[in-house]
């Protein structure tokens, strides 16, 4: 028996249940009532989400040049030599792994945004659980069985999948390639994504090739059922036609991520109105031997990063050549970063926050956020605390790329999150705050180190302001302030040391687009 060649339309296969009487759904039946919503329904923008499975080592991907010696001390056996780090124009403090020359080029062209230290308050170190958190957009201690993209599509496409496809929406709302476990597109009732059950099956549909079956009557009947399965896929014909209509593409590198992105480019150019494409690239679970033992610029992790960098660059060039680069942005993410300190086997263990990348012509180029504040001598459990909540990245994409309004924003994200300036303001015509503070000007404390108490001073522009205390594993151990200030200005909080063990802690302040983390030391 060969692999499946059957492409499944999981949308149409799930239970039709009554969708609760949500006013949004009613509005959608009459989009003219809500022009804002209409705009979001009819825009032709697509998002490509690249999942880097396994937990990417963020510190060897985006390297904090400004604290190079702390970086080196924490992971001498795998640290990238300082003179090999790729420089980023206008951002001297931060550089890229030498395997990522194409990302350097994209960055310097203003088509790449690096969001620093993305994570969430109570990091989970299980691949499964962390993946579910990222896909659902849940809190760490909360179980949500819908995906963030599923909720977005559900608010926008009423009563899906009943009566889909239709004239207005002839294509799958989301196409998922390379993984069949994604919660990302699970809506409240059904999965909103066309799940391509097996990557090879998807390629087979595109190529029109058939797989062998055994030479028995079982094989004879299996071929029959497969044929019907193919015919009954409501979207199969459109997908194949879209794919076939694109004959000229740039050369892509030879790896599975590139193959997936190449198909995505064809489908978008071929006219599919699909909003979301999910692709997956695995192998980032680098517990051992992540670099070559004598040359840390090459090895397993470098190869992975090179594949990501080259594949995305080829995709971006293809987008430009196909003249669809206005319509497409992409995002990478991994379920967690890795530990600050490397282990003795030349690898890194499961960690917490890590950088992620946004790419595309309409992405605001640059580095968002500051380098993580690394400890002087990292211990085995030390993690990078989160600076930017991953849900604020999601929220920014929803609001500034898909132009989701505030009512839907809350329904999709379930809570209010900041909108970060990651996408060109012109896309949705929404004026965006710029980050006005950076570094120590935003938060400071004295004395530091401290024993009995320390006084934390932080700036706010007014509005919702959050002050948290995190431990070295990256977990929030106390929310110090969570309030809304009427005015901009300096505020303070006195943190008493009597309940804290001696050691390193982080304080994090979040106020709109401004999010900063500072290391403090209890003695």
């Amino acid at each position: 028996m060969e692999r499946r060649k059957f492409i499944r339309n999981s949308l149409a296969l799930l239970t039709p249940t009554i969708i609760s009487g949500n006013p949004i759904h009613i509005l959608q039946d009459h989009p003219i009532i809500n022009p804002e919503l209409l705009a979001s329904v009819n825009n032709d923008r697509a998002l490509v989400i690249i999942q880097l499975s396994g937990g990417n080592d963020g510190l060897n991907t985006v390297i904090p040049i400004s604290s190079y010696s702390k970086y080196y001390n924490a992971r001498a056996n795998i640290a990238i030599p300082e003179n090999k780090i790729l420089k980023l124009e206008g951002y001297d403090a931060t550089g890229l792994n030498p395997a990522m020359t194409s990302f350097q080029k994209l960055f310097n062209e203003g088509k790449l945004n690096i969001v620093q230290s993305v994570g969430y308050p109570q990091p989970n170190y299980s691949h499964f659980r962390a993946t579910d958190i990222w896909m659902s957009g849940s809190d760490s201690n909360q179980y949500i069985n819908t995906g963030w993209m599923g909720r977005y599509l559900d608010t926008t496409y009423a009563n899906y999948p009943e009566a889909y496809p239709n004239d207005a929406n002839p294509d799958p709302l989301a196409i998922q390639i390379g993984s069949i476990t994604s919660l990302t597109c699970q809506g409240p009732v059904v999965n909103m994504g066309l799940s391509i059950s097996d990557p090879s099956s998807f390629y087979n549909l595109i190529d029109g090739t058939d797989q062998a079956v055994p030479n028995t009557n079982g094989g004879y009947e299996l071929s029959f059922v497969r044929r019907i399965a193919k015919q009954s896929n409501k979207y199969g014909v459109r997908i194949k036609a879209a794919s076939d209509s694109v004959t000229q593409q740039v050369t892509y590198p030879n790896n599975s991520l590139a193959s997936q992105l190449k198909i995505v480019a064809r489908l978008i150019k071929g006219g599919l109105q699909t909003k979301v494409y999910l692709v997956n690239y695995g192998g980032f679970d680098t517990h051992a031997g992540q670099t070559n033992s004598t040359d840390t610029t090459i090895g397993v992790h470098a190869n992975l990063l090179n594949a990501v960098s080259e594949s995305v660059n080829a995709f971006q060039n293809d987008m430009k050549g196909l003249e669809i680069d206005d319509r497409v942005i992409g995002m990478t993410y991994s379920e967690f970063g890795r530990r600050i300190k490397s282990n003795a086997s030349g690898g890194t263990d499961h960690g917490a926050a890590a950088p992620l990348f946004l790419f595309g012509k309409n992405v605001r180029g640059g580095v968002f956020g500051d380098n993580p504040d690394l400890p002087l001598s990292a211990t085995v459990n030390d993690n990078i605390p989160y600076q930017n909540d991953f849900r604020s990245v999601y929220n920014s994409i929803l609001k500034n790329w898909f132009c989701v309004n505030e009512t839907n924003e809350l329904q999709i994200m379930l809570k209010k999150y900041p909108t970060l300036p990651l996408i060109n303001a012109s896309v949705c015509g929404i004026a965006m705050e710029n980050s006005v503070f950076s570094g120590n000007s935003m938060i400071n404390n004295y004395p530091n180190p401290f024993n009995a108490f320390t006084r934390i001073e932080f700036k706010t522009n007014g509005g919702p302001t959050l002050l948290q205390l995190l431990d070295t594993t990256g977990a929030v151990i106390k929310v110090l302030i969570d309030t809304t200030y009427a005015y901009a200005g300096m505020n303070s909080y006195t943190l008493f040391g009597n309940n804290l063990h001696a050691g390193v802690y982080y304080i994090r302040v979040q106020n709109g687009v401004n999010q900063y983390v500072k290391t403090i030391l209890k003695v």
Partner: protein
């Protein structure tokens, strides 16, 4: 893939090859609705001969009859109380009868779901298709029940006896107008179908004539239904002339008889028909096509059908010896025939419920909840093309006779997505009635199906061993494991840890980590085209 269906040269010689889970599963899936893991394991240990013997010799008590589950403030049955059976009660009210027919369908679905370990339910479906009637045409609920009750009581008995009973069955008399067949205006309906559909078939070697149909119709005149709604023979409307049959029946003359003796002509007619060797062949072909595969060429005809027909005749049309020879034969276990049968809609629904060990409320003591739940599955069967007790016409469901597609007719662009939707629904939500929930429990199922569910390789192997009849490559299984159970990771211990974490600390989150992946895996497997085959 073979360009055409294939035929095995193997005949009825008893099978002596390997007896394992694959062969035991093949036997169980063909003779029952679905093969439960516990039954497969038990049958493996018993051996082939004992397994077939057990399946052909039911020991379960005869089931309690269907009940009144319909009485309410608006539906008033003046003669049968809610919770009591109506099968011995005649009622002329159309509404009441529609509720009784529906109650019978639900009851029947319940019998199939809660079947004993025997061939009974599958064989009841076989004969109900063979002696096809439509309940809404028979109309009276108790007639419909009696028709299916006759089949149930004789499904493993004597075929000739069964024909005699069906010929004077009230349901059949109504369905094919036998009760209107009188000497002044003979109705040929049953006289024709008795030969064409129930005994001889339409094969080229069957050469009865139109005159034979007319003569048979005359023989059958006089069967009536009286004012107490019982079948009786009315000599005054019986045609007492001599009935001349064609050369095909050796120019037989059935002498017309008066008074009560007129009824004996019916036995004579049946005996005459059963003199033809084509009867045994026709029935054996139908048995073969129902239980093995639809494709019959000269090889199958000579090596299987002819010898089975001989057994049938030699045993005076006892059904069991034919089944015994077939299910113990090397032909039945030839790998050519493993997994080549497309599950019928009834099979698709019932096998899923049974194989996942879904427990239902008691059909007698908790009949209201049970019938309510059975009704959901009845509707699922109907939506994918098979309505129990209501085949489309007297020929039965086309998937059992229509060349060249046969049971491929069950699967099309409408029904296949619905089949998948049904299994998805059973994994996701199932059905609930008064807090009684019937749904697949992925974690309990994993524990039941696998001795080592913490090992993702063993778990996936076990799932395919018990649920799927076609072989899967190691590459495919490894891919499935990585994509689903490991969420893209390469190390098996991530699944093992997640499983053990759940066992040791069954919090909601730990439960969901395991459960969501198992659900995805089960849905995936049941959405594979392979799952439609058995």
């Amino acid at each position: 893939m073979p360009a055409t269906p294939l035929s095995s040269k193997l005949g009825l010689t008893p099978y002596t090859g390997p007896w394992n889970k694959a062969t035991a599963k093949h036997l169980l899936k063909r003779l029952q609705f679905g093969a439960k893991k516990s039954d497969i394991d038990d049958m493996v240990s018993k051996g082939m001969l004992a397994a077939v013997n057990e399946l052909l010799n039911p020991t379960a008590p005869y089931p309690a009859p269907p009940l009144n589950d319909y009485s309410s403030a608006t539906v008033i049955d003046t003669t049968v109380v809610l919770g009591y059976t109506w099968v011995n009660n005649f009622n002329t009210d159309g509404t009441i009868n529609s509720y009784r027919r529906l109650a019978l369908k639900k009851w029947l679905v319940g019998q199939m779901i809660q079947q004993d370990r025997s061939i009974t339910e599958k064989l009841c479906l076989f004969w109900a298709n063979h002696f096809s009637t439509e309940s809404d045409i028979i109309a009276y609920g108790n007639y419909v029940f009696n028709h299916h009750d006759t089949i149930r009581k004789n499904c493993l008995g004597n075929f000739k006896q069964l024909i005699k009973l069906i010929t004077t069955d009230a349901g059949m008399l109504r369905y094919l107008n036998g009760y209107l067949n009188t000497k002044t205006a003979p109705d040929e309906n049953y006289g024709r179908e008795l030969q064409e559909l129930f005994t001889l078939g339409k094969n080229v070697d069957v050469k009865y004539t139109e005159d034979d149909v007319k003569a048979a119709a005359k023989v059958l005149t006089g069967w009536r239904i009286n004012s107490t709604y019982n079948v009786y023979f009315e000599p005054t409307v019986h045609d007492t002339s001599n009935k001349q049959f064609s050369a095909y029946y050796n120019n037989k003359v059935i002498t017309g008889k008066t008074l009560a003796a007129g009824a004996t002509e019916t036995d004579e007619l049946i005996n005459m028909i059963f003199e033809r060797p084509e009867v045994a062949k026709f029935i054996c072909r139908k048995i073969y096509q129902f239980f093995v595969y639809y494709y019959i060429d000269d090889t199958i005809e000579n090596n299987i059908i002819a010898p089975l027909a001989n057994i049938f005749i030699k045993n005076n049309f006892e059904i069991k010896p034919v089944l015994d020879a077939l299910f113990k034969s090397e032909h039945f276990y030839d790998s050519l025939y493993i997994g080549c049968q497309i599950k019928s809609p009834i099979d698709h629904v019932v096998s899923c419920l049974r194989e996942f060990n879904i427990v239902f409320p008691n059909a007698v003591t908790e009949y209201a909840d049970a019938y309510y739940l059975f009704n959901n599955f009845l509707n699922q069967m109907i939506s994918i093309g098979q309505n129990p007790t209501d085949p489309p016409n007297v020929a039965g469901w086309p998937a059992y006779y229509q060349t060249p597609e046969y049971y491929e007719l069950w699967i099309n662009a409408d029904t296949l997505p619905k089949r998948n939707k049904f299994t998805d629904l059973m994994v996701e939500t199932g059905y609930t009635r008064n807090t009684k929930k019937v749904v697949i429990n992925p974690i309990e199922f994993a524990k039941a199906i696998s001795a080592t569910p913490s090992d993702p390789n063993i778990l996936i192997d076990d799932l395919f061993t018990y649920l799927i009849s076609t072989d899967q490559s190691a590459t495919f299984k490894a891919n499935l494991k990585k994509q689903i159970l490991l969420s893209g990771q390469v190390s098996d211990y991530y699944w093992t840890d997640a499983w053990n974490n759940y066992l040791n600390n069954p919090t909601t989150i730990n439960f969901n980590i395991v459960n969501v992946r198992l659900k995805t895996l089960l849905k995936y497997i049941m959405n594979m085209p392979d799952y439609q085959l058995q």
